[in-house]
């Protein structure tokens, strides 16, 4: 029996759901359903500022960029010198504090990488990445 075009379309569209749902069930524990894999929780500048002294600001850019200008009170923590920069950060940290990591522009991945290393390697909770990065802070400061 020849089905009409519409029925054929619906049948194909519907049948594809079955293996798709099966595969989704297999991947059900993947944390990427809500967030891109490896993404730390983003935080807006306003939210981070509202945390006040509970926020520990971390600059993931190069030392040169940090020297030129950084968020007041921020600590430098990048992958170039991770081993020597990390201990003072851990000294300043406490379980109630919220870590806000930033770098240049949204497309820079340094802040995400540093945040991920803090979460995975150091096991620290409450690690966030600043949306808009350093440029967002500079724009708000003007």
């Amino acid at each position: 029996m020849r089905l009409s075009l519409v029925r054929q379309l619906l049948l194909l569209l519907g049948l594809a759901f079955l293996p798709a749902i099966g595969q989704a069930i297999y991947y059900r524990d993947a944390p990427s359903w809500q967030q891109r894999p490896g993404d730390s929780a983003p935080v807006t500048l306003a939210q981070a500022k509202a945390w006040g002294s509970a926020a520990l600001w971390l600059d993931a850019r190069s030392e040169e960029q940090f020297t030129r200008g950084h968020v007041p009170g921020a600590m430098l923590l990048n992958e170039d010198d991770w081993h020597s920069l990390l201990p003072p950060v851990l000294g300043a940290w406490s379980p109630e504090r919220k870590l806000v990591v930033y770098c240049s522009r949204q497309t820079c991945d340094a802040s995400h990488v540093v945040a991920e290393r803090l979460r995975k390697e150091a096991g620290l909770p409450n690690v966030y990445v600043l949306e808009g990065g350093w440029e967002e802070w500079e724009a708000a400061a003007k």
Binding site: E79, D80, D81, H83, L86, P87, C108, E121, A122
Partner: protein
């Protein structure tokens, strides 16, 4: 009517394909690098050639992170001229697979950003997990364990040196030949401790590499007596 429609569509696609041809052609847009344990940088060369009839100007070269610098010999590329962009990736304290991009903008038509990809697989001598052990003021000063997994290298021994004498450490064999356990125990209470553990594998012998774990003990934690 049907034949004409097909011909028209094919013609349109051909036209589209014909106009979308850029003059600057890249030999490779993805380079994979495998630096050795002792390397501090990894360098990639991206070669290009101007196959068009007009000079092409490279207007900007921008990398995705500060760790990769891209150098250009000159920015104006004459017809038939070749050149290259040298990307130097600073390894620093990075490990594992690193993906970095370099975006090149030109005045080529059709104007587009060319993304060059650099993939560096940095060998991991050992992996330390976790790199931070912490006792809050409420925690009892009980043992904590750091697991060290060895990569594809002949490491047979680890030497662990705490930077604070009140931190005791002991290295034990792990679940297999490629694993070690570092048992950490603070012996004092009453003062806050913020120390590092210097971890030194016995390979490579000529250029030893140091790894670190961090220990923090907040004051007023109660000490447990050492095991008998």
């Amino acid at each position: 009517m049907k034949r004409n429609t097909i011909l028209a569509l094919l013609g349109l696609f051909g036209l589209f394909a014909g106009t979308a041809h850029a003059a600057l052609v890249w030999e490779k847009s993805e380079v994979e690098l495998n630096p050795s344990l002792s390397d501090k940088t990894a360098v990639a060369h991206f070669k290009y050639k101007n196959t068009g009839e007009q000079p092409v100007k490279i207007t900007s070269v921008h990398s995705s992170c500060g760790c990769t610098t891209a150098a250009l010999a000159k920015d104006e590329v004459e017809p038939n001229e070749s050149g290259e962009i040298t990307a130097t990736f600073n390894i620093g304290d990075r490990s594992g697979v690193q993906n970095k991009t370099i975006t090149v903008m030109t005045d080529d038509q059709p104007a587009q950003a060319k993304v060059l990809r650099l993939k560096a697989t940095i060998p991991q001598l050992i992996t330390v997990a976790p790199i931070f052990v912490y006792w809050s003021e409420k925690d009892k000063l009980e043992l904590k364990t750091i697991t060290v997994d060895v990569g594809d290298f002949p490491v047979t021994k680890l030497t662990v040196t705490p930077t604070d004498k009140s931190i005791e450490t002991e290295v034990k064999p792990g679940a297999n030949k490629k694993q070690f356990l570092i048992v950490v125990r603070p012996t004092e209470s009453g003062r806050p401790i913020n120390a590092s553990l210097k971890i030194e594998p016995d390979y490579p012998k000529d250029a030893p590499k140091l790894f670190y774990a961090n220990v923090r003990v907040d004051s007023r934690a109660t000490a447990t007596p050492p095991p008998q």
